[in-house]
Symmetry: C2
Subunit: 268 residues, 2 copies
DNA sequence: CGTGGCCTTGAATAACCTCAATTAAGGTGG
DNA sequence: CCACCTTAATTGAGGTTATTCAAGGCCACG
């Protein structure tokens, strides 16, 4: 495979073809085999674990993660109806979560990347209420929820962290409700692109360009619009010189214009 | 004030004028002054607290609730930006939670009634990210989050309960995303009415009739449609003999038809 | 080099929104 | 207790946005 290397404005080297395979810039990457399976020396710790642990507590914290699990592209980490046992921290890869209505309509409820936690939907009923599908080969840390709860009782900082993760998800969904309820197509796409690039940037990738891991249809499902409308909106932004789009490749040329569209379509 | 009394199909007596003032059928109601401010003998316990406590633990659980607070109609329990200190269990009354975009558009993120918990949005950032507005005079139990966390460490059953409440909110918002992203106006209104009547019924009210506590505009904001469309859809359902509507009063005549509309508009 | 999945684009249609006028209800003060 | 005023709800006509249906192009993969 030819690897497309590009430098972003921070001077970080990023692999556009496989940016999904590591949160790290290429030059710092190590092979998976050299990484011990433990939170205490995980690169992603700051993303999915609380800070402020001393070394001996950190070691106990490693007990949260029982095992690792690989999920191939297109496969499910869990499905609607599965018994709930664990939360999952994404190490590598990219997921979508989605629910289906009785008559078969699908709603994507989120896209998740490295360092993010999925499975929270299962707590309330002891069964998952959505499907988690890997949009590319993925690797997750399996955190049995019993372990999480037990250690939470012991470590208030972990307890608070778990609460914050759940609260963050509630707040995220609130803003999706705003998006779905109040925004027009262009605003939704602008919000979507800005959110995606911001999260990728926080993981060491370019602030301006990336590869979409989902189809137009999946984007549309998430944003409450049809795939044709997604495509048309991308094309319009491209015509306006705001972004460059070619299939899954996206480059943001005018982030400020995108932000303006997001904040208010009718802004004078 | 003339009180409109009606009997539902279960034979329970319900006051339509003030069904919002108590979850209980009228004949079982006691005056607020006779109720001790404690979870251990609260009528709503089964709605907002875990079950399976023995009496001595129950007494410790009472420590969760620090105080009670009255919120008059139209006033806010908390606002976007307020420091987060507590969760609130609604004893009586009816709330909406809403967020505003930068350009002033409002999105109602939920309607909450007796026994439900609000304030979870504030945990992640130590500040509330939405407004909680009383749609009628309300009375809430103030549960300082520090107390909740402390007792959660001591009582696994409470810990699990807190997690379930947060997970339930995540799942609820997932289904709202489905509603906003995939459903048409009639389906949204059907889902809204069915959800409302189901929750009211769980609190001892009629399965078929109730008084809306929110305006058409607030319903529209929640469901992602304009107030005129809400009104038109109500009128259409009324013309079709599915419901009876007169201003805030709603009676569901054909729940099965409503369920069919909700499940699939295009159902043959 | 052919095949299938994904993406793009066009034209016609449907759903919902906007603007506007009217009616109904609720609250206030004389 | 009633008249007035304000807010909320209904309804109609016309416009806009996004959807639907359809055709064709691009790309990866065998």
């Amino acid at each position: 495979m030819v690897q497309v290397i590009s430098s972003n404005e921070d001077g970080k080297t990023v692999c556009l073809e496989c940016n999904h395979n590591s949160w790290q810039p290429m030059d710092q990457r190590t092979t998976p085999e050299t990484i011990k399976v433990a939170c205490s020396n995980c690169n992603l710790r700051e993303l999915c674990m609380p800070i402020g642990f001393n070394p001996e507590d950190m070691q106990k914290l490693d007990e949260v993660v029982a095992t690792r699990r690989r999920v191939k592209q297109g496969e499910r980490l869990f499905s609607n109806g599965d018994p709930f046992t664990s939360l999952y921290a994404i190490r590598t890869g990219f997921f979508k979560t989605c629910i289906s209505s009785e008559d078969g309509r699908e709603q994507v409820t989120g896209f998740q990347m490295a360092g993010e936690i999925i499975g929270l939907d299962g707590i309330v009923s002891d069964h998952h209420s959505c499907n988690a599908v890997a949009l590319e080969d993925a690797d997750v840390c399996v955190m049995p929820f019993a372990n999480v709860e037990e250690l939470s009782r012991e470590f208030p900082v972990l307890q608070r962290h778990v609460h914050k993760i759940m609260s963050r998800e509630i707040v995220r969904e609130n803003s999706i409700m705003m998006l779905l309820g109040n925004m027009r197509a262009e605003e939704r796409i602008a919000a979507f692109l800005l959110n995606l690039v911001q999260r990728l940037h926080a993981r060491g990738f370019s602030q301006s360009e990336f590869i979409l891991r989902m189809t137009r249809e999946e984007i549309g499902s998430y944003l409450g619009m049809k795939l044709e409308t997604v495509s048309r909106t991308f094309s319009k932004f491209s015509d306006d010189g705001i972004i460059e789009v070619k299939q899954r490749y996206v480059r943001i040329i005018e982030p400020d214009v995108l932000k303006k569209i997001f904040n208010s379509q009718t802004c004078s």
